[in-house]
Each structure stands twice: as structure tokens, then as C-alpha cells.
Symmetry: C2
Subunit: 528 residues, 2 copies
């Protein structure tokens, strides 16, 4: 990925006329705010000494320690609105003092030992797709910080097609993992929007959730065990049993730990045969309330779709599920809330699940729209972040965030968040467009995924910081979680105590103090 946008330079494309027209309607005139060329970015000097560099080279090899601008800049920020704005605002960017890429658990362990001894903070780096400040190179109380790049953990090992398990290197990207598994006729089925770039280790460290979660579960549910390297030693968390009653589930302590306790280097995953058949059908509901009731019934009766999503009225009207056609008015499309469903498995499975889901949705007020809207969504489903790059270049405020809550609390939470955004961004002259969809469903609740479009003011970082604070206050006051699948990172860290309580935070800090006695791992993130 390019340092200052979501994807590569090749993926970038200009705003379509329909989006331009939407933007000008909502936001009015904007002042372009392009990213600088990488050569023009001003960065902090490396704080590592020549001795430091030599010591690191002795561990991982000369080639795999770099203090070059070209390596440090792309590992300085993730892809949140804050991150992307940082490059676009004239300032000196704090970047890691070096990039270090070990290739084995022993090398990672030696690097962590070195860091603990040398007073250097360590920030792990996978695909760099964090949208919550997860890779910002915070130094904490340490004079220096290195970016620990997992890219060389790129192998697939120990494929067990009988049990449906395979061990993948933490540095493998989504596509790398799927290609390696496909050679064995297997699939993981984890497709978050970050899929093209994000890594297996990152999915585990952040409790990622993908678009097929109704069928295959969240990423944390896919993990059988993990190898984790801590400053105290190398661990395997989780064992060969599919379930155990031998105490707390150790792997749950490291899932979502965001590099605070150790570095996830290998992940043993539950995989499954590439599905034999697929089916698609879109529906429309007269309003969000009836749509939510129906997708809730689907999940509570386990009718079995692989994908089920529901957009609210504004998101449906904006045509946001198709990145190529956002803002287009489709005269033929009925008013209401768009619901997309997909089914995967054996032919018999797909047929029965599709029929059962369809019957239930139709009985609860849905009208079928056929296959087309789902296929359109499937084709463009990784495209939204690329679109955001173009909007940011144009000087538009554009960000997403997400939460989750119980079904009974969905209306209250959605209302509170929408009010918080509208109020926070409406305090100046701007008006915000707040789009929302149900992206993941559970028997007892669902996630709510918000997309915000608005006008940037003259201090866009402060503007969004203020809005984000109001949003998080609304979420915690109204029984949402501060993050359903984006993780905590830097952006949500100050709300962790409200999320898990002071004793919860204390218990996590006790684990950290044991496994990372010097506190070099990811200071200032997850456990502030």
C-alpha cells in the first residue's frame, strides 16, 4: 500500500460524477487536500544508535534492519481518517526509528529481549490496515521505537484436511492465505474490507470480523491455537482439542491483545472445503425497523445465510453498497432498506438455507430484488476505502466506525449515535450525512456500521477528534461496545476502562506486567 492512501497508486481512481454530485449536495464546495509526495514528507530522525542497529542486525541479518525513510514512512500510520489526514496536514510525522523483520520465533524472542534490555518500544506491523491508530509508533516512556514487521512469517504449515485445520504465518495477507489454502481445496472465508492487505496475525490481534461472518463466524472463532512470542518466552495458546474445560481459554487472552502481551507469529485456523455452490438474493424492507426484526429472526432461527446485511434508509437511498454507483438515483429501485443475502456450501445446503431464509424474510415484509444487487456488492466490496482516498483528496470528511449491541437496544443506540454525529459536526457550518448498516448478526444482537460524509473545517483533525469523542460517549452511555471489529488501538484506548471496568483493566495489566515486564510492547495503545 502507498503510505498516504488506502490502496496502491494503481488502484486509485477519481470520483465518479454521481459521487461528485452527492458530495456537492451534502458538503457543498470543498478545498482539495491532497497528500504530499513521499519525498516531501518531513519525519523524525531515527533515535537508534549505530550499536543498536548492529545488535539488531546480528539477530535478524543485515538486510532485515532498516532506518531508511522508504521503509519507516509506510510503517508510521494506519488507514484511519486521522492517519490519512496526518500526511495531508503540514507537520513533522513521528515514524518508527527502524523497521526490523525477524523470520522465526527465536529471532522475535531475541528482538524482544534486546528491546527490553535496550529501552526500545516495539510496535508490531502486519498489513498496516489499522483504522484505529493501531500502528502509530508511540514510544511511551522509551527514547526509541521499532516497527516489528511480520512479513517473513509467510508460510502455510501442517494442513489437516480431516480436522479442517491449517497453520498460517502471521504475516500472510488475506489473499496469500486464501491462495495457499486453495491449493489444498480449502478456504478460510474471512473477508473483512481490509482483506486485500490485512494479515492473519492482524486479524487475530484485533478480533477482526468479515463479511461472511453469519456463515463462518468472526475471526476469533476461527482460531484453534496460536504461537505467541513474549519478552518472557515463546508460548502456544490453545491446544489440539476443539474445546476444553481446563481453566480459562488461554487463546482468548491473546485474541484482541493487539501486541500488548506478545507477538502473534503463527495462527492455527479452522478451515473448510471451498464451497461447492453459492446463491444470492437481495430484498427490500419498507423501513429499518421491519428489516432489523427480520434479520434478527433469521439469526435466532438459524436459517443459515453465509452473508446477511441490512442498510438503513439513507444508506439504501445513497446506493452505498455499490461503490461504482454511490449517489446514483435508480428510479426503478423501491424505497426502503436494502438487505443482501448470500449462501454457500453443498448444493443441498445452499438450497435449503436459501429457501428457509427467503421464506422467513418474505413473511416479515421483504420484497425480493433478485440476485443483481448482491452480485454488484460482491464485486465492489473491497472498494470503499479506495473511494475514501479520493474523497479525502477532495477535502471531504469521510470516515467509518462501528459498534454492536443487543437487539432490543438497536433503535436507542442508533438514534444516540446519529444525534451525536450530527450535533458534533453541525456545530460549525457543516452538515453530516450519516449512513448505517447492520453488518454482523448474532442470536442476541448485531453490529452497527456507520459511514460519515461531511464538510471538513479548517482544522480537520481537531474537528474529527471532537466528533469521535462525542460518538464514543454516546456509545458507552447507550450500552454499545466501543468497537465491534476495528479494535482499540490508540483511538479507543482512553475508553477501555469504561468498557471493561477498572478491575478488568487491572487484570489485563497484571498479565502484561508478567509477560512484558519492561512494558516495551505497544505502549499507549490497548492498555493506556
Amino acid at each position: 500500500m502507498s503510505f498516504s492512501i488506502w490502496g496502491t497508486e494503481q488502484e486509485a481512481k477519481p470520483l465518479s460524477s454521481s459521487i461528485q454530485s452527492l458530495v456537492s449536495k451534502v458538503v457543498g464546495n470543498t478545498t482539495p487536500r491532497p497528500a504530499p509526495a513521499q519525498a516531501d514528507v518531513r519525519i523524525t530522525d531515527s533515535q537508534l544508535t549505530a550499536d543498536h542497529v548492529q545488535e539488531l542486525q546480528a539477530i535478524v541479518g543485515d538486510k532485515f534492519v532498516s532506518c531508511d525513510r522508504a521503509h519507516r514512512i509506510p510503517r508510521a500510520r494506519g488507514k484511519s481518517y486521522f492517519d490519512l489526514l496526518d500526511w495531508r496536514v503540514d507537520q513533522i510525522i513521528d515514524v518508527p526509528d527502524a523497521v526490523v523483520a525477524p523470520a522465526s520465533n527465536d529471532e522475535v524472542f531475541d528482538v524482544l529481549q534486546w528491546a527490553s534490555k535496550s529501552n526500545v518500544a516495539v510496535v508490531p506491523f502486519g498489513g498496516g490496515t489499522s483504522v484505529v491508530g493501531g500502528i502509530t509508533p508511540l514510544r511511551g516512556t522509551f527514547p526509541a521505537v521499532i516497527s516489528l514487521d511480520l512479513t517473513r512469517f509467510d508460510a502455510i504449515e501442517d494442513v489437516d484436511p480431516i480436522s479442517g485445520e491449517a497453520t498460517l504465518g502471521a504475516g500472510m495477507s488475506g489473499p496469500q492465505a486464501e491462495i495457499a489454502l486453495a491449493k489444498h481445496g480449502l478456504q478460510l472465508g474471512h473477508f473483512p474490507q481490509s482483506f486485500p492487505y490485512a494479515t492473519i496475525g492482524g486479524f487475530a490481534a484485533t478480533r477482526s470480523s468479515g463479511q461472511n461472518s453469519a456463515g463462518y463466524g468472526r475471526f476469533d472463532e476461527m482460531v484453534a491455537s496460536m504461537e505467541v512470542v513474549t519478552p518472557k518466552g515463546i508460548m502456544t495458546v490453545g491446544n489440539a482439542a476443539p474445546a476444553s474445560a481446563a481453566g480459562p481459554d488461554m487463546k482468548e487472552i491473546f485474541l484482541g491483545s493487539e501486541g500488548a502481551f506478545g507477538i502473534i507469529t503463527k495462527v492455527r485456523l479452522k478451515v473448510h472445503p471451498i464451497p461447492e455452490a453459492k446463491a444470492y438474493e437481495a430484498f427490500v424492507f419498507p423501513d429499518f425497523q421491519s428489516g432489523v426484526a427480520a434479520v434478527r429472526a433469521v439469526e435466532q432461527h438459524k436459517t443459515g445465510p453465509t452473508v446477511i446485511r441490512l442498510s438503513d434508509e439513507i444508506e439504501s437511498a445513497t446506493n452505498l453498497t455499490s461503490t461504482d454507483a454511490i449517489g446514483e438515483q435508480d428510479a426503478a429501485a423501491p424505497h426502503g432498506c436494502l438487505c443482501l443475502t448470500m449462501y454457500e456450501g453443498t448444493r443441498a445446503h445452499v438450497t435449503s438455507r436459501h429457501e428457509e431464509t427467503r421464506d422467513l424474510l418474505l413473511s416479515m415484509g421483504a420484497t425480493s430484488l433478485g440476485e443483481a444487487p448482491v452480485r454488484k456488492w460482491e464485486k465492489g466490496r473491497f472498494g470503499a476505502p479506495v473511494l475514501r482516498d479520493a474523497l479525502l483528496d477532495a477535502g471531504v470528511l469521510c470516515e467509518t466506525f462501528e459498534t454492536a449491541t443487543n437487539w432490543s437496544n438497536v433503535p436507542a443506540l442508533k438514534k444516540a449515535i446519529t444525534a451525536a454525529v450530527t450535533q458534533a459536526l453541525g456545530e460549525g457550518d457543516s452538515v453530516a450525512l450519516v449512513l448505517c448498516h447492520v453488518s454482523h448478526v448474532y442470536a442476541n444482537g448485531c453490529s452497527l456500521y456507520f459511514t460519515i460524509l461531511g464538510a471538513q473545517d479548517s482544522t480537520p483533525i481537531e474537528q474529527w477528534r471532537h466528533a469521535k469523542q462525542r460518538i464514543l460517549e454516546a456509545i458507552t452511555e447507550h450500552n454499545g461496545t466501543i468497537t465491534h471489529h476495528h479494535a482499540v488501538g490508540t483511538d479507543h484506548a482512553r475508553f477501555m476502562e469504561q468498557e471493561i471496568g477498572p478491575l478488568g483493566l487491572g487484570a489485563l495489566r497484571a498479565i502484561k506486567a508478567y509477560l512484558d515486564p519492561e512494558g516495551v510492547l505497544n505502549p499507549g495503545k490497548l492498555l493506556p
Copy 2:
């Protein structure tokens, strides 16, 4: 429950002639080893002072502190073979020094504060059904130990039928919980063999798994959040969201914690409407291998049974799935491995899941046996422990244990365990009957549940201690878990380091040191 047997005196019944005949064939002549009358049991004197008792009474009320034999004896042991033998061998039994029954989180907190200050260990008590020494009143380094009885946490609160959640007191038994939920048209669907007596808090503290786990999941999957009282304060673990990426999942740290970190007082559970329809069908496979392949396919293709179980050849031939008919020869029954299936849900759901499962099983070598064997099993499914009481009275060695592993490892693990049992119990003159079934299935593996029948030697506790050691060694050497759903307790504690590694154990001890600084909670169990 009576102190020295599984159930009540009323439930007890003599061995049927078919079981007597099976026993005499396998075990030969036995010497009866009846339990003593409660009045004849010799116990340790209470080590609490009058001041201690007064201080406890000031917290929970005069009525709810007892040093009476009648209260202390039934809280001294669980229901493992070791536990039941303890009463039957002439010795002084260590019993808790008092039974204390607080009624609120604040009272529990005050009791824990008092215990920490007064150097008194605390062992929580729910239904007393532990089969792994979970309630043995170990004192650790403390001069005294109290049994903290959760019986007064018996209320249902905050029922949310929209989200399918309800909060239950940790002291409610399985039937109490189902009756309370049924008033709201809801059901939990957790039916372990301990169901009649075990409690909601115990299910959570031990990661229990019930017979309907294929449909409703393990108990740990049913938990949305919990209230936990620790010596450091009162916590809620888990929040109102169905899933979260805000760090490690805090409730997973307390599920399976067996009272080592705190006392679980209330559990918010995922519940569901009482199913509208049920279907039953039994099958027989020519051998265990083909049966295992078929139940694996069912789970990996998610055809959707609520119950699926598979007995091996010996268990099938022994007719163990029907406690009334064990040992009976049924001339009409085909040879092979019995597989029981049940389906619950809406009528449409039951029909499609039954059909899909049936088609798959038949295509993989099954022959249908119709409904009858499943209905017979359902009727008698909580009866086996009562049968064991009669076998123990008759002087027969009878115990169950369980493990779990990946599908690909099932044959090797089953063989190793069977060899370990046979060898350990065959070293003297006795021969053991080793029965096994697959009781819980997952996409990547299954549990193996063993029942052992054999001849007791003259020192039955040492005899089983030796066999149990060999079994646990075989399990850990062959990639099984030391416990799939019975928990760790006293019996498995010395294998915890092998199960989760020294760093895993260290991390859990770090949590304990933070939440229970004096270490008064359940010393010598889970974290030895």
C-alpha cells in the same frame, strides 16, 4: 443430594438383574462397600473461633453461618469416584470449617474481605456435582476453610425476549433455571448429566457442556456476561454487545476459572424460545471408524442436529445408552455402533435439518433404527450417576472421564487411552471394561467420553489414583485435553502446566495475584 451418593435416597435403586449379570461376567465376585450412615462419619473439628463465627454472622445474618455436621458434611466432597470412595473407606474426612451463605454481591465481597484478613480459605459451593474434586475443602496454607454456598442467588432478572437474554442467579439449579425461563416461554437448552443438581454458576465456572451442545453450544458459548465478586472488588465481565473487539474477552478469563479469581454470582445467558417441534432418529454404523467419519461430516457440513452422539462397539453392545437395560442382549439389534440424533426448532427447521442429516448419515453407511432408541436415551439420560451409586455399593470400580481432540487424532487418542486403562487396571487380577462414545462434536474435532467398569482391589483409592495418572499421561502425550467438560478441580490440577504451559500458568497466577492478593480462593485447585 445425599452426601455419599449422586442423587437423593429416594432416587437410589438396586442393580437390575441384567446389570448384575454384566458385572459378574466382567468383574467377577465383588465385596460390597456400602456408604456409612451420615451419623457414623468421622470428620475434622471446625477450626473457626467463636469470634470468626460472629464476624461472619454480622455479614450474612445469624441463620446463614453454620458449623453443624449436617451442613458441613454434604459440602465436603463432590461426586467423583474418589469422592464417593472417601466416604466408604474408614477414615476421618476433612470437611469445611463452616458453611456461609451470603445473599448479595456486597455480602460476598464482605465475606471475601473477611477471609483475606482472617487467613481463611474459601471454596465456593453450587450444586456439589463436581466429579474432579472441585469442592474438596483444601486449606492451602490457611488454618481454616469455609464453604461459600451460592444457594441464595436464586432469582431470575432482566429477561429480554427480543435479544434472547436473561440474568440468572448463580445458585439456581438446572431445573430451577428452566422452570423460571419457561414462564417467559424461553429455554436455555443446557442438559449435562449433572443437570438435576448442578447450578448456573457451576456451569460457568467449569465450562460445562450439555447433551444438546450440537444445537445450542457449550455453556461457555451461552454466557453473555457475568457478575463476579473478587477480594479486590465486584466486576461485570462481558458487556451488552453480542461481540466486541475491545481487547481480550474478559468473560473468557472467568469462564472455567473455578473460583480461583472470584465468585460468579449472576450469569446473563443467551436463551431462546421453547422449541416448537422435535424429531428423533437413531442409526447404526458397521464400525466406529465409519460412524466417526459420518458424525464429522454432519458437523463439518452443518446439517444441524440438536443432539448427535456415537457409541463405540463395546458401549453399543452393552446397551449403555439406556440405563434401565444395560447389559441386556437385544437379539434384534444389529451389531455395530449406535448413533443417536435429535432435532429441535420450528417445524420447518426440524424437517429440513432432520432430512439433511439423515441423508448424509445414510449415504455414509448408516442404517436407521427409528425413533425408539433415542426416546429411551432421552428418558433415562440423567440416570447413569444413580446407577453408579449402586455399583459402588456393590464394590465395583465405576468411573467416567472425558477428553477431546482433533478428528484426525481420534483413533490414536482412543487407542492410547484404552491401552492405558487396560494396562493400569490389569496389573493386578482385574479386567476393565472400557466403553466410549463421542458426546460433543465440533467442526475440527470431538470429545471422547469413557466409562470404566472393573474390579476394585483392596485399596481402591490408590488403585484409581494410579489408573487416573496413567490415563492423564496418555491424554497429554497424545494431544488430548485433560478435560473437555468436567473441569480441572483437584484431580487434574497437577497437569495444568502441561496443558497450558508454564507461561500460561504464570499469566493466570498473575491475574489471581491481582484479584485475590491473599490467595484465599480455592487454593490448590485449578492453579496449584
